[in-house]
């Protein structure tokens, strides 16, 4: 009898190969998937509370250029840019150029990089960072709306609310601080092109770093 069962299964498998075979592989993950923002299209709207308790809504920021920076202070790739002062310098440059700089922390509670308001402020102070605000996105809502993948991951939104850049901070996808010098900073380049009245020539680049800890 077992022989017959083996035969039956054999025949079935041969039939499978012979017939048109359709297989759908579904992921067994309960987490909602990431949205897929597009450059040139309106940036996804969001509303989030910062470490001072203030609410930021993209709709209400019309007329202002915005940079979103996903961050996680324990991530080696974030540390590379904060320890060298690279990120802080970029933040100051952006703010001086009239941008709003919103750092976003999407780490879920219990995961690496998750901080409360107090710790967030402390980090800003100890690292001498200069963001306009630090959004606490523990639920990952903003992160998912932007499809934020890594820390750091940067998004530039122009005054019309159009997403004009998304991707990495620069072209050296390593955690080695020595690579900051000599790297081509994509965000700085985008700001320069926008300031010159042009459009961003490299609007999408590979974000690199640690995964966002949703």
């Amino acid at each position: 009898m077992t022989r017959l069962t083996i035969l039956a299964s054999k025949l079935l498998s041969v039939r499978n190969a012979g017939t048109w075979l359709v297989a759908l592989i579904l992921i067994a993950t309960s987490a909602p998937t990431l949205a897929k923002p597009e450059v040139g299209a309106p940036a996804p709207d969001f509303s989030g509370v910062d470490s001072e308790g203030q609410t930021w809504t993209l709709d209400e920021l019309e007329g202002q250029r915005v940079i979103l920076e996903w961050t996680n202070h324990d991530c080696p790739y974030v540390q590379k840019h904060y320890q060298t002062g690279n990120m802080q310098a970029l933040q100051r440059e952006a703010i001086a150029a009239g941008y709003l700089w919103l750092s976003v922390i999407s780490s879920a509670p219990g995961k690496q990089g998750h901080v409360g308001a107090e710790k967030a402020n402390e980090l800003t102070e100890t690292r001498n960072a200069a963001p306009t605000a630090v959004l606490l996105d523990a639920e990952g809502t903003i992160g998912r709306a932007y499809g934020a993948r890594t820390t750091p991951h940067l998004f530039v939104i122009d005054e019309d609310g159009t997403l004009v850049y998304m991707g990495g901070i620069d072209d050296r996808p390593t955690s080695d601080p020595a690579d900051v010098a000599g790297a081509e900073n994509y965000v700085r380049a985008a700001m320069a092109e926008l300031a010159a009245g042009g459009s961003v020539s490299r609007p999408v680049t590979r974000p690199y770093g640690c995964s966002v800890k949703y």
Binding site: N16, G18, L21, L24, L26, T29, T33, K36, G167, V212
Partner: protein, 762 residues
């Protein structure tokens, strides 16, 4: 049938006949058993090199999350030679490292080499990755163990005896959910010896250690993507990407397929991927990535199939389909050479060398020649004799006869072609003669030949129209002719005639109407001689006059039938081992018993005949059950790596075919002879006998230091099917000679000593 023969005489004759078949079977089977003997792992360490500094072949760095080792495959290298290094991570459970495209986050390991002048390190060659999900994100990487291979090449003028000191600074990122960048410095010292005994183990290493190391490298190579790139199509539709890959390139019966993009931006790494096999293509639906238009459309297809997991390199840059891997994979320079021979054709589709008219002519000629092949000839000889016997039929009768015969041939060829095309459409990597890759089919054919042999020898009377091979009454003639045609086509499968290979190879990559036309033309060619004989009285008159000698000849022709049955048993021994042969022999004895019972009761009163029929039915049922039971064994033996080798052919040591081995030899400018064969392919075995094992050929091979690679297609083998497709072929035999330098040459399908020698001379 001579009814006057004494009953005991007939009994005796039958016993002799069966004994003869059994002896043939066992004698053929016996040498086959020795094939399975395990190759013993290579020998003793060679004499220690008189060197002040001992070689260092392993360098180890341990971190909190993994143990990293840089390992040399061998301790010594020849000037001008290569040595394989592996950067091995043994990663803590729950942690992972990254592939060259790390996916949504992460970073692949990097190695910064500090090498003396004259030593060069190649790029990292990556085993295929796994998909590692991190929340809504996905990474491409490795858990457990990651082995990165790097080939080190040494200049020809490197001074002998001077060891090579190498330093490697590696950096890598290891992540659980959070990530830790780590680094390590590795130091190796390799010996340079003139003997070129690269297999020499490091001093003091015991056998077990060496075996473990050999296994580590072997496993790493097994996890490398298959050589060559498969040309694919990638269509961009909105936010989706549709990837089309020729199904022939995939291993048979895939159970899961995943595409790993070679670069960031092409696809959404974490998105679900759906796939289906349709019209001979694998179609995948992928979510397009953030920079799909600006990213090279390359990557890996990792396919789980019955025979394990395989990774294939996919390249949709040219946006064309081809069944055979072609071109070059950047990280594996040695494959460039391996695939050179295929580059001209398959990149634009394997069918280019042959147009439809040529294919049709080839098919017709191939079909004609098929009549002379050893599998088919006995069947036709008997039929021709039967024709002579019934010489004086009316033209109409003869025409019907010829038409029935032709229809029989065409029907069976058509059926085989349709089944083949249907299975290929379903993604199975099959080719001409595929039915013989099934042990069940082989046993059933064996039963058929045994029955035919018994019938011819006169041990039993085959009265049923369908098996009426030598049918003498015109009433049964048409059905008999149809059956003969079908039978001839059925037994033709193992015999590949000249011209046929190219025609069938062309056919299977065409749309089905074209494919069917070519195959039917082949059948037509095969049916032509006998049909002509039937139609033309002038030709029929040329046949010798019927007489008592015909009965003798008929009985004599039983022996090719038994020989064929015995040979099929030998094929079975390759496929299903001794258990399979045992079952088949038991079935054969039962079948003979059943046929005998039927024969015995034939003369009895009607009310007792059921005894014979019942007995026959029962024994036939058990024999069939035994045969079908072999399906369970099918595939069990398919992972064999030994080739069909005859102990008498020791003069020519063949290595099992692998594209990698071919590539390595080509890179070293060593001439290679590739022989694609199968146990069930008589043409192949005959070629080996009359050409490839001849002393002149053997010595010519030896003189040239020829690497003789033999691919065994007895069981399904996707790698061989792929290689055959690269030469526009769909069946064995295929002989390719790769000179040390220059383009490979394809030899004819029927070899002789001089054909092989001439090919080598050119």
């Amino acid at each position: 049938m001579r009814r006057t023969v004494d009953v005991w005489n007939r009994h005796l004759r039958q016993v002799l006949v069966i004994a003869c078949a059994a002896v043939l079977a066992t004698s053929l089977f016996a040498p086959a058993q020795s094939v399975g003997a395990e190759r013993s792992s290579a020998g003793s360490p060679t004499a220690a090199t008189p060197s002040v500094s001992a070689p260092v072949t392993v360098s180890r760095v341990e971190t909190e999350h993994l143990v990293a080792r840089l390992i040399a495959e061998s301790a010594a290298v020849v000037p001008g030679g290569n040595v394989e290094l592996a950067l091995v991570f043994d990663i803590r459970p729950g942690w992972h490292t990254y592939w060259r495209n790390p996916g949504d986050s992460g970073e692949p390991p990097k190695i910064d080499w500090q090498l003396p002048a004259g030593v060069r390190a190649g790029p990292i060659r990556w085993p295929y990755p796994e998909l590692i999900r991190v929340g809504p994100l996905a990474n491409y990487g490795y858990s457990g163990r990651a082995v990165h291979l790097v080939r080190l090449s040494v200049a020809e003028d490197w001074p002998l005896g001077e060891p090579i000191e190498l330093l490697a600074d590696a950096t890598w990122l290891v992540c659980e959910e959070h990530c830790i960048p780590e680094e390590g410095r590795f130091h190796l010292r390799l010996m340079v010896s003139a003997a070129g005994d690269a297999s020499a183990g490091p001093q003091g290493t015991d056998d077990e250690k060496r075996l473990r190391r050999a296994r580590l490298f072997a496993d790493a190579r097994a996890a490398m993507p298959a050589a060559g790139r498969i040309a694919a199509r990638l269509e961009r539709q909105d936010q989706r990407l549709r990837l089309r890959v020729p199904a022939a390139a995939l291993p048979p019966e895939p159970t899961s397929v995943r595409f790993f993009a070679g670069h960031w931006g092409l696809i959404e790494h974490a998105a679900p991927q759906s796939w289906q096999l349709q019209d001979g293509q694998l179609e995948m639906d992928l979510a397009s990535g953030a920079a799909a238009d600006a990213t090279p459309p390359t990557g890996l297809l990792v396919v789980d199939a019955r025979n394990g997991t395989r990774a294939l390199q996919i390249d949709a840059t040219a946006n064309v389909l081809s069944g055979a891997p072609s071109g070059v994979s950047e990280p594996m320079p040695e494959q460039t050479l391996a695939m050179q021979g295929q580059r001209s054709g398959p990149a634009r589709g394997a069918a280019e060398p042959l147009g439809l008219p040529v294919a049709l002519v080839f098919a017709l000629v191939g079909g004609l020649v098929l009549n002379l092949m050893p599998c088919v000839f006995p069947v036709l000889a008997i039929k021709a004799l039967a024709l002579a016997q019934q010489g004086e039929m009316a033209l109409r009768q003869r025409a019907l006869h010829g038409a029935a015969y032709t229809a029989g041939v065409l029907t069976l060829f058509g059926c085989i072609a349709l089944v083949l095309l249907a299975l290929r459409a379903g993604g199975a990597a099959l080719g001409w003669g595929f039915q013989l890759q099934s042990p069940v089919f082989v046993v059933l054919m064996g039963y058929l030949f045994l029955t035919l042999g018994l019938g011819l020898s006169g041990a039993v009377t085959l009265g049923i129209g369908l098996t009426r091979v030598g049918g003498s009454s015109p009433q049964h003639g048409h059905l008999g002719a149809f059956a003969t045609g079908a039978l001839a086509a059925l037994v033709a499968a193992p015999c590949t005639a000249p011209f046929m290979g190219a025609a069938v190879g062309y056919a299977v990559v065409q749309p089905w109407p074209v494919a069917l036309t070519v195959v039917l033309t082949l059948g037509l060619g095969m049916a032509l001689p006998l049909a002509a004989l039937m139609l033309s009285p002038a030709l029929a008159r040329q046949l010798p006059r019927p007489g008592p000698w015909m009965e003798h000849l008929k009985q004599f022709l039983a022996f090719p039938m038994f020989a064929t049955a015995a040979w099929l048993l030998w094929v079975l021994s390759q496929q299903a081992g001794s258990a399979g042969v045992g079952a088949a022999l038991a079935g054969a004895v039962l079948l003979a018993l059943g046929l005998r019972l039927l024969e015995l009761t034939r003369a009895w009163a009607v009310r007792w005949r059921w005894l014979g029929r019942g007995g026959f039915a029962a024994s036939l049922a058990v024999a069939l059950w035994l045969a079908v039971g072999l399906a369970a064994i099918e595939g069990g033996a398919s992972n064999r790596t030994d080739t069909v080798e005859n102990p008498q052919q020791a003069g020519l040591a063949a290595e099992p075919f692998s594209a990698k081995r071919l590539g390595a030899a080509r890179a070293a400018e060593r001439p290679v002879f590739v022989n694609m064969t199968a146990a069930w392919c008589i043409t192949c075995l005959v070629n080996e006998r009359v050409a490839l094992t001849r002393p002149a050929v053997v010595s010519a091979f030896t003189e040239r230091d020829m690497l003789y690679l033999k691919g065994d297609w007895t069981n399904r083998d996707a790698a061989i099917t792929e290689y055959l497709a690269g030469y526009g072929r769909n069946g064995v035999p295929l002989y390719v000679y790769y000179p040390a330098r220059g383009e490979p040459r394809v030899l004819p399908q029927v070899l002789s000593e001089s054909v092989v020698l001439d090919a080598l001379q050119q």
